[in-house]
């Protein structure tokens, strides 16, 4: 083990990946260092998060009053499509796996880098290329299909779906290459002492995510290509006028896109498993259950796509089967939730910002998950289908869980990535605003959906007015919270107090090196004789002071 626990006086590591081997722009753009690539992914994904959030805010303002408020119907259609495309393909899918995963997986395995560093850089550029191609389509006309590109409408619309489809296709390649890299890294590059039962839970979850990425993404890529070919050249694959079957598109699309939900949620669970141990100062309760349930979710996730087709003319038998299979996901998720909760029991809890986001995560995951079981029930889904209930459900589970985990990760690993601390007080203020704002945004939408307000409409009857105002108000609080987080994190980049190698006194392997880490990660290959979440008896009975008090140097 490295001597990082030796000193409590924080010292900035003078030779780190941020300043060596070089600091110029070129040294970043051509880097093969997984840490720099991870940081580039994080920055890019955060920018897209802001863009998607801006679209969301415009949508909410439009829905503030019945009838046209600030835009016409066509603009609204384009806006919600772009909101979905940007948030899903450019933020939620890559943010945690490609950003934090790239930064952390090799560090957590005691490796010098991922298995294929050049492929890793290629993956980043494919991501940027895909983003540029998709954004080109958005600027030149946009698309009005919704992010799901349902046929036959998407094959006939005159808006620019083709560049957006191709953009998503290219992003898929990026996703596949990253997943491939992580699986190979996990298999072949673990440091001595890290057997499969000592692989950190973060890595386990990312590993499960990678399996989905490799197996499901090609099918989506092909499907999007088919729609593009059809829209551009009229090949008839999904066109009923030429004998094609539009429902086949839905099968293909959801074969990827339902597992893709787990591409978003599993990495969130990865973060949470680390955070819960670090801030309750306890070993995870049921390591194997938490690790293997990730694989369980990845596996079952492939057999649930049919629950998107309950009202597409599927047979009652199929619907029942897909309903039950979908509920299995709830079982694996519950295994995790119970284990996280059990980990807290008799722990020494440090209620820091990442822990606040953990609490938010738990609420959104359980509430979103429960409503998920509800919409997996055929009879209920028929009532809620294509209403705001579904919008609220998937925002709770996908966005709530992913964004909570993303923010938890951002705060928990901020000292590791930058070597500096963020202001804890502001952190908690931001967390409270984000969590409350999120609830106020989407709880009214559950009610709206249950009363029958359909999704994707830019106008609504007056009886839905009050709840829409509530939702928009909540969205404003959420947006303000996120702006606060952005501002203090940017300030902390330069003026935050020096963190030292391990400000949380975490036992995670990634903290066994300097912060920010050395260019080659470790002085020498570490050898491990303990698990990644093992806190000693007295380390939680008499916890060391967690994190230095934030002070802003003027």
């Amino acid at each position: 083990m490295s001597p990082s626990h030796a000193s409590d006086v924080p010292v900035y590591n003078p030779r780190n990946y941020l300043n060596s081997p070089a600091t110029g722009l070129k040294s970043w753009l051509l880097t093969q260092d997984h840490k720099r690539i991870g940081v580039m992914f994080l920055v890019a994904a955060s920018v897209f998060f802001a863009v998607g959030g801006l679209f969301a805010m415009l949508i909410r303002i439009e829905l503030l009053t019945p009838g046209p408020t600030i835009m016409d119907a066509m603009t609204y259609n384009r806006l919600f499509t772009l909101h979905g495309v940007v948030m899903i393909f450019l933020f939620m899918i890559p943010a945690i796996p490609s950003g934090f995963g790239n930064f952390l997986v090799p560090l957590m395995l005691g490796a010098k880098d991922v298995a294929f560093p050049k492929l890793n850089l290629l993956s980043f550029y494919l991501y940027m290329l895909g983003a540029v191609v998709a954004l080109y389509g958005m600027i030149h006309g946009g698309a009005d299909t919704g992010w799901t590109f349902y046929t036959p409408y998407s094959t006939t619309t005159v808006t620019k779906v083709v560049p957006i489809l191709l953009g998503a296709f290219i992003l898929g390649f990026s996703s596949i290459l990253t997943g491939l890299n992580f699986i190979v890294t996990t298999h072949t590059m673990r440091a001595p002492g890290i057997g499969w039962n000592r692989v950190p839970l973060f890595v386990w979850s990312i590993y499960a995510t990678s399996i989905i990425q490799i197996l499901a993404t090609p099918v989506l890529g092909m499907t999007l290509l088919l729609v593009a070919v059809e829209n551009a050249f009229g090949w008839g694959i999904f066109d009923p006028a030429r004998g094609g079957d539009p429902v086949l598109f839905q099968h293909f699309f959801w074969f990827y896109s339902h597992p893709a939900v787990y591409i978003m949620v599993l990495p969130a669970m990865a973060v949470i498993s680390e955070v819960v141990c670090a801030f309750s100062r306890k070993n995870i309760f049921g390591y194997k259950a938490v690790a293997y349930s990730s694989l369980g979710i990845a596996f079952v996730g492939f057999f649930t796509w049919g629950h998107h087709l309950f009202v597409s003319g599927q047979s009652a038998f199929d619907a029942g089967v897909f309903g039950v299979l979908s509920m299995f996901v709830g079982i694996f998720t519950a295994i995790k939730v119970f284990n996280w909760t059990a980990t807290l029991y008799q722990g020494s809890i440090a209620f820091k910002t990442p822990f606040a986001y953990f609490v938010g995560f738990l609420f959104f995951l359980v509430f979103g998950g429960m409503t998920g079981v509800a919409v997996a029930t055929v009879s209920l889904d028929v009532h809620w289908h294509d209403t705001y209930f579904v919008v609220a459900h998937f925002h709770f589970i996908m966005v709530g869980a992913t964004v909570m985990a993303f923010l938890a990760a951002l705060h928990y690993w901020f000292p590791k990535i930058t070597g500096r601390m963020y202001p804890e007080g502001w952190g908690l203020v931001g967390a409270v605003m984000v969590i409350l704002g999120f609830n106020f945004t989407f709880i009214p939408q559950f009610l709206l959906g249950n009363e029958g307000m359909p999704r994707r409409y830019f106008s609504y009857p007056e009886r839905f007015w009050a709840l829409n105002v509530a939702s928009t108000a909540g969205a404003s609080v959420l947006a303000m919270g996120l702006v606060i987080v952005l501002v203090y994190l940017l300030i902390s980049l330069k003026w935050g107090p020096i963190a030292g190698p391990n400000p949380w006194h975490s036992r995670g392997y990634e903290w066994d090196t300097a912060s920010p880490p050395l260019p080659e990660n470790f002085e020498e290959t570490p050898v491990y004789t303990r698990g990644p979440h093992e806190y000693d008896e007295d380390s939680y009975a008499n916890p060391p002071p967690v994190a230095p008090e934030p002070k802003h140097a003027s």
Partner: protein
């Protein structure tokens, strides 16, 4: 002559080879799924329009597919011979066998081009371009949409595989690999076998069934 093949972040060459092989197998798995989507679409429409698909399948010339199958299988064999030489450390002979394989690949593409031009003349085209008068059953144009998508995607893979074989072959001939480390030769071979294997599915699906 050249830097050590061991990358800085691996401890030893065995681990690196292991990583490279695993990466390739995973990549191939994802390639298979890329085609699986098309095969699934084919299965669905074959079920919906079984007569039209059978007719359309009979309307295209089986011998093109047959000759191409023979060409590809032979090329797989020559790739294997090349790998066999690489294991023994005979880089020059590996390069030679790979050159032969590339020649087969070009022959495959040439024959495919001739076949495509036949389809163009007959109007056996996808979707809205379909104008094949002898077969007007509903669903027939779908057969040709899928035909062009599947064989086209396979053709792209042939071109990619051919390029990989050429690059690795030249490197082998220049003595870049040794009996101890020739993983790239192996991986190029694996990729080519996949291209071949997919065709083995495409041929009966499109020409025979």
């Amino acid at each position: 002559m050249q830097a050590s093949p061991l990358a800085h972040h691996f401890e030893n060459i065995e681990k690196q080879s292991h990583a490279e092989r695993l990466g390739m197998w995973l990549f191939l798995a994802s390639e298979v799924l890329l085609f699986t989507a098309l095969f699934a679409a084919y299965a669905v429409y074959r079920y919906l329009y079984s007569d039209a698909f059978a007719e359309a399948s009979r309307a295209i010339e089986t011998w093109f597919g047959l000759v191409n199958t023979i060409i590809l299988v032979t090329s797989s064999f020559t790739v294997a011979l090349g790998l066999n030489e690489a294991v023994k450390g005979n880089g020059k002979k590996t390069g030679l066998w790979f050159a032969v394989s590339v020649a087969f690949a070009i022959a495959f593409l040439a024959l495919k081009a001739v076949e495509y031009s036949h389809h163009f003349q007959e109007g056996q085209l996808p979707g809205r371009y379909y104008s094949f008068h002898e077969l007007q059953a509903p669903g027939a144009s779908l057969f040709f949409s899928l035909y062009f998508l599947i064989t086209g995607l396979h053709g792209v893979h042939v071109i990619v595989g051919m390029t990989i074989l050429a690059v690795v072959g030249v490197k082998a001939a220049r003595g870049k690999y040794t009996a101890a480390y020739h993983t790239p030769v192996e991986l190029a071979g694996l990729y080519w076998h996949l291209v071949d294997l997919i065709w083995i599915f495409v041929f009966p699906l499109i020409y025979l069934v």
